[in-house]
Amino acid sequence: MLFLAWALLPIPLKKAVRNGFHEFQVPSWEALSWGRDLQNFWAGRANRHSELISQGRDLARLNGAFRLQVMENESLRQELQRMEALLDLPPRPRYRYEVARVTHRQIGTWWHEMVVRKGRDDGITEGNGVVYAGGVVGKVQKVYEGTSIVRLVTSPGFRMPATLHGQTQPLFIQGLQHGSIGKPTGRVRNVPISSNVTPENPGYLVSTSLGQVFPNGLHIGKVEHLEQSSNGLFREGTVQFPSELYNLNEVAILVPLPSTTKTALKRN
């Protein structure tokens, strides 16, 4: 009787119930997440002053280097805008980086996802790209009021376009659940026959803006071995993603900005 009643219930109603139960759980997840942050804070306070001073000095050096890179990037960006206007190219997608703490991760053989503490209120929409300091994390699968669910790049069924570093031919990456424990892996397909990689000289996979989700050049993973695909036209192989992918506490969500290239140039 219950099965029949549930089966006959319209899908929008089921979704509404599901959303309601999700929102009901969010405060408890956030409380746990804040608890973990507080634990880290107190662990940090236990550090000795000399350790903190040396860490501060290292960070100041990094900051100096990054400031120079930001200035260089800005001048390159303006140069690119001028070239795009000259060649009348369509504007490239630009993004706002919305930094979000990870509430909790759910990674196993059944699913690969994480819940983050930013949602609809912060302008996040379904399908937005998610990155971290080491490269691509995945895509936003579902958005709620103050939280979002991120589907990891290792998730079975996840697909994204990519290229090998230094090449332009697009290929695609698919998530793969591997038998080995704690090793994020995936599958790369449509690799040109001419590409050759070895464990000594691995191929580095980077994102491409073809999918309109990620900008060009973000690190995804590396591939050390390629084999002939079943159709004989391409090659394919196993991708090794960075191991910290399963241990992230903070990510950045790429929120696309409305194109400003042409209007900025018109003003110039």
Binding site: F21, S28, R105, Q106, G108, T109, P156, Q177
Partner: protein
């Protein structure tokens, strides 16, 4: 007085909610090794053995909805239907089981939990690249861990809920509704 009659039901709901939260936190830490623990049978034990059929069914249904909303499953859900089914199986066998838990209860828990996880795996595997064989080792380890959690905590969790029910509701009596 009317409200006091529902205290065992509230105890079951709150205990399931807290257990689910603890599992979420545990799975967060286990994610470093890409492992995930699921113990659906543990959530229906107290409602099926100690509450009336209707109340037990309500607890199982609400717990199932709670779990489905937190997991990437289809809109139809899995636990929304799986937990009431487990509840029905356990409720039908409750005359043959010890209500305070015991070896028979632990054995039943192990069997129904294993079957539920295998059904879930069978439902999700076709969508995975390489099929079941690609991640068999990790899957076996994951299921073994889940079974181990049930073995260690099953009786304790049941006992805890029974005690809480008695603390807050002194005149607690075993609700023995006939199995439908």
């Amino acid at each position: 007085m009317h409200l006091r009659r529902h205290i065992p039901l509230l105890v079951a709901l709150i205990a399931n909610n807290i257990l689910w939260l603890i599992l979420t936190e545990l799975n967060h830490y286990l994610s470093v090794w890409s492992l995930y623990i699921l113990t659906p049978a543990l959530f229906v034990l107290y409602p099926a053995l100690n509450l009336s059929y209707r109340k037990g069914l309500l607890v199982s249904l609400l717990t199932g909805l709670l779990q489905d909303s937190a997991l990437p499953l289809s809109s139809n859900g899995f636990f929304t239907l799986a937990l009431p089914t487990l509840h029905l199986i356990t409720f039908r066998l409750r005359d043959k089981l010890h209500r305070e838990g015991g070896l028979d209860t632990v054995l039943l828990l192990q069997v129904v939990n294993l079957i539920t996880l295998m059904v879930l795996t069978a439902l999700l595997s076709p969508s995975q690249l390489g099929g079941l064989s690609a991640h068999l080792l990790a899957l076996i380890l994951q299921i073994l861990l889940s079974q181990l959690v049930i073995l260690v905590t099953g009786n304790y969790f049941l006992g805890l809920q029974r005690r809480l029910g008695k603390v807050f509701f002194k005149e607690v009596r075993e609700e023995e509704a006939p199995a439908t």
